[in-house]
Symmetry: C2
Subunit: 215 residues, 2 copies
């Protein structure tokens, strides 16, 4: 384990750290296996002792990024005033949404990488995607909706799928502003729109919806 010059010590961890740095700076496309090996000072083939493929390397970095998303949501949740349960539930759903999009803006490279893991399914629900709070981003969302339902602000028939709807709105906004056609928005309007997004979600989910009409 002592630095012998031949063995690295903790190559796996070092590769992930280097990968996070690279993705932070240049997004997913900047994370090349050979480049990471170079940064860490090791032959490219050595990487395969710890990851089966480039795709799995990316997947592992994606999980770490997701954990950071969960932490960002947790931080935002932590500053919701505790007092009233109803007020807290309202604040919580705003907090998780804002934490999500703000992470995307603060770390666009990591955010883009986090949702680029096609190979190993469901990285978002993986153990390694848990942050310091022990929760995945999705579970943070669930927590906020649990509170909302407990307080009677979320109709029972809206609950299944409610997370999916909220996640869609927030994720779409984050995506379009980070790497999509809305990426040229200035920070003020972005911030204002993100508030309206969570408001839209809350309003849209607090009522009973009719059945589909035609087609």
């Amino acid at each position: 384990m002592a630095r012998s010059g031949y063995f690295h010590g903790d190559l796996r961890r070092a590769l992930l750290d280097a990968g996070l740095d690279a993705a932070r700076a240049g997004g997913p496309e900047a994370v090349s296996l050979r480049e990471l090996a170079r940064t860490v000072g090791v032959a490219p083939s050595a990487v395969y002792r710890h990851f089966a493929s480039h795709e799995q390397l990316i997947g592992a970095i994606a999980r770490r990024s997701l954990a950071m998303v969960a932490d960002a949501m947790e931080d935002e949740l932590a500053r919701v005033p505790a007092g009233d349960a109803t007020a807290w539930a309202d604040g919580a759903i705003a907090a998780v949404g804002l934490g999500y999009v703000r992470f995307a803006w603060r770390e666009p490279g990591l955010f883009r990488l986090a949702f680029r893991a096609h190979g190993d399914l469901e990285a978002a629900h993986d153990e390694a995607a848990r942050g310091a709070s022990g929760r995945t981003p999705y579970e943070q969302l669930e927590r906020a909706f649990d509170a909302l339902e407990a307080v009677g602000e979320l109709p029972r028939e809206q609950r299944p799928g409610a997370e999916a709807l909220a996640w869609s709105a927030v994720h779409g906004f984050a995506t379009l502003t980070v790497e999509g056609p809305l990426r040229s928005l200035d920070e003020r309007t972005r911030e204002a729109l993100s508030w309206r997004i969570v408001e839209m979600v809350r309003l849209g989910l607090s009522a009973t919806a009719p059945e589909p009409g035609a087609a």
Copy 2:
């Protein structure tokens, strides 16, 4: 111009067609410049007579895909019953949203490629992104909101940014179900959720929202 065996005839068009096929089958990562040249029966370097780089090739294919998105939205709009203006406006906003997500499900490869064009900015607003109706996807959305506003169902102060919010919700849902953590949803729940998405957008935008509270 006659097929001489040396000159191709319309290489640019042929490359785009081949690119659409490749993306349809394997998504953005399946569209390699060399592979396309091979399919068309031409040397890789010949591609550079028509596109400055691989990225611009992808960009051109992305624009064609966006045009197809606009067409899908147009098709869905066309089957909204015309009668009442209010009913039409309601139907229109549902139609554009559903057209969008249904295109994503029908052509996941093209959809994924369409929103991967980082290089040349604003492909979504480009001329080449117009479909048979002469409109971009974004303009289709605008059209539906114009109708909604004309009928008095969209408060004036909600209008600026309304397209961004609606687009976010719909795009996020499409993304998460096509290449994200929600991609394992079965078709029935997907379809049901997409209805609820547009309902959420309509409800969420039909009311006046309060100012942001704290932080």
